[in-house]
C-alpha cells in the first residue's frame, strides 16, 4: 500500500478531486487528457472562477462509454456529487445522457430515458456552468467543444446516443418517433442547432437552421399530416445520415 489515504473509505481520490479521478469507485488515477501535447496531468484542473453564471446549479452529464457507466457504483456517484457540490458551492446533479433502460443510471432513477437528459435542458445549463471543466475531472464527454475534440460530435451524442438511434422507427427506419410534445422538440432542436444560422426559405413551414459544418435542421410545430404528431424535426446531417426526421408524439411513439 503506497498511500495510507487509500485506506480511508470515506475519502474520495485522496481528497484531491482536482488531480485524481476514480470513475469506478475502486482506485484513483491521474487525470489524463488525450492528444494535447504539453498538457501535463498535474496542471490545475479546475478553476472555479472560470465557472459562468455562478447562481445556477451545476448539472453533470455523464456521457462516457456505457460499459463504464454500468460498472459505476452509486456511492461513487454520490461522492462525486457531494465533493463537486462543495467545490462549486452549489448543488451538483450527476446525470447520465445515454444509458438505456435497465442500466445502472436507470436503476438509480437518474435518467431512465436517453432523451430525458436532452429534454431537461442539461446541455444548455451544464455547458454554461461547467464547460470543459467536467471533462477534465471525469474524463467523459460534456460540451460540444469537448465532444468535437474527442471525435464524437454533439449531433451524434444527441441523435445516436451510445450508437443507438433515438426513438423508434416510424414508417421507415430513417423516421424516428419519440415520446414528447412541442416543448421537447424545441429543446432538442435548440441543442442540435447551437451556433447555427437561421435560414430563410419560404418553402419551409417552420424554423430552418444551418450549421457551420453544413448540417441543416428544421423544426415544424404545426404542419404535419400525422394526427398524433405535435412537432417534427427534419434532419439533414452527414454525421447521422440514418435519420431524416424525428417526430414528437405526445402520446408516445
Amino acid at each position: 500500500m503506497s498511500n495510507p489515504q487509500t485506506l480511508n473509505l470515506y475519502s474520495y481520490v485522496r481528497n484531491n478531486p482536482l488531480k485524481y479521478v476514480d470513475p469506478f469507485g475502486h482506485q484513483d488515477e491521474l487525470h489524463k487528457k488525450k492528444g494535447k501535447k504539453g498538457d501535463d496531468a498535474t496542471d490545475p484542473i479546475i478553476d472555479p472562477s472560470s465557472v459562468k453564471n455562478p447562481g445556477i446549479s451545476v448539472k453533470i452529464i455523464l456521457l462516457g462509454p456505457v460499459s463504464e457507466l454500468h460498472e459505476r457504483s452509486s456511492s461513487s456517484s454520490n461522492a462525486l456529487s457531494m465533493i463537486m457540490g462543495m467545490f462549486f458551492s452549489r448543488p451538483v446533479t450527476i446525470m447520465s445522457a445515454h444509458l438505456p433502460p435497465g442500466s445502472w443510471a436507470a436503476k438509480h432513477q437518474l435518467v431512465p430515458d436517453p432523451y430525458a437528459a436532452v429534454g431537461g435542458g442539461i446541455f444548455e445549463e451544464g455547458a454554461e456552468a461547467a464547460g470543459g471543466i467536467i471533462m477534465k475531472v471525469f474524463g467523459w464527454l460534456f460540451t460540444k467543444e469537448v465532444a468535437e475534440e474527442t471525435g464524437v460530435h454533439l449531433t451524434e451524442t444527441l441523435l445516436k446516443p451510445g450508437g443507438i438511434l433515438i426513438g423508434k422507427a416510424g414508417t421507415n427506419a430513417s423516421i424516428r418517433e419519440v415520446n414528447g410534445g412541442v416543448e421537447a422538440a424545441e429543446t432538442l432542436f435548440s441543442n442540435l442547432t447551437k451556433g447555427g444560422e437561421v435560414m430563410t426559405n419560404p418553402n419551409y413551414p417552420g424554423t430552418l437552421i444551418k450549421m457551420q459544418d453544413g448540417q441543416v435542421f428544421g423544426l415544424r410545430t404545426i404542419m404535419s399530416r400525422s394526427p398524433g404528431t405535435a412537432a417534427t424535426i427534419d434532419v439533414n446531417s452527414h454525421l447521422v445520415p440514418e435519420i431524416s426526421k424525428i417526430k414528437f408524439n405526445p402520446g408516445g411513439p
Binding site: N201, N203, P205, V216, M223, P241
Partner: protein, 115 residues
C-alpha cells in the same frame, strides 16, 4: 444495401403519413443506395418521382404553417420540368425545404394499403 424499389416504396409510405421534401428522397438515395455522383443521384431521384407522379400516387406542392398544402397543379411532365428548372436554378443539391414537397394521393394511399 437497399434497392431503388425499396426507396420508392418507403417514400410513398412516408408521403402517406407526412409531407416529404425533395431533399429527403435525395438523402435516401445517397445513403441507402450509396450513390454519390450528383448526376446519378439526380437521375435516380427524377426516375422515382416520374413513376410515382405518372401513376398518380403522389402530388407536388408546398406545405404551409397553416397546414394547407398548396399544390402545383401541374401534369406529371410539367411537374418534373418545373422541378428540374428550379433544381438547375438552385445550383446545388436541394436541402431541407428547397423546391418542392410531396404527399400521397388517395390512389397512393390505396396502393400502400394494398401492398
Amino acid at each position: 444495401m437497399k434497392e431503388v424499389e425499396s426507396i420508392r416504396r418507403d417514400f410513398l409510405r412516408e408521403a402517406s403519413d407526412d409531407y416529404v421534401g425533395l431533399w429527403s428522397l435525395i438523402r435516401r438515395i445517397k445513403f441507402d443506395l450509396g450513390y454519390n455522383d450528383p448526376a446519378t443521384v439526380r437521375a435516380v431521384t427524377l426516375s422515382i418521382l416520374k413513376e410515382l407522379l405518372a401513376q398518380g400516387l403522389i402530388r407536388a406542392g408546398i406545405p404551409h404553417t397553416t397546414g394547407d398544402f398548396e399544390e402545383w397543379n401541374l401534369s406529371p411532365v410539367k411537374t418534373l420540368q418545373r422541378l428540374e428548372h428550379e433544381w438547375d436554378g438552385l445550383g446545388r443539391e436541394p436541402n431541407i425545404g428547397d423546391i418542392v414537397w410531396f404527399t400521397s394521393t388517395e390512389k397512393g394511399e390505396k396502393h400502400i394499403r394494398a401492398s
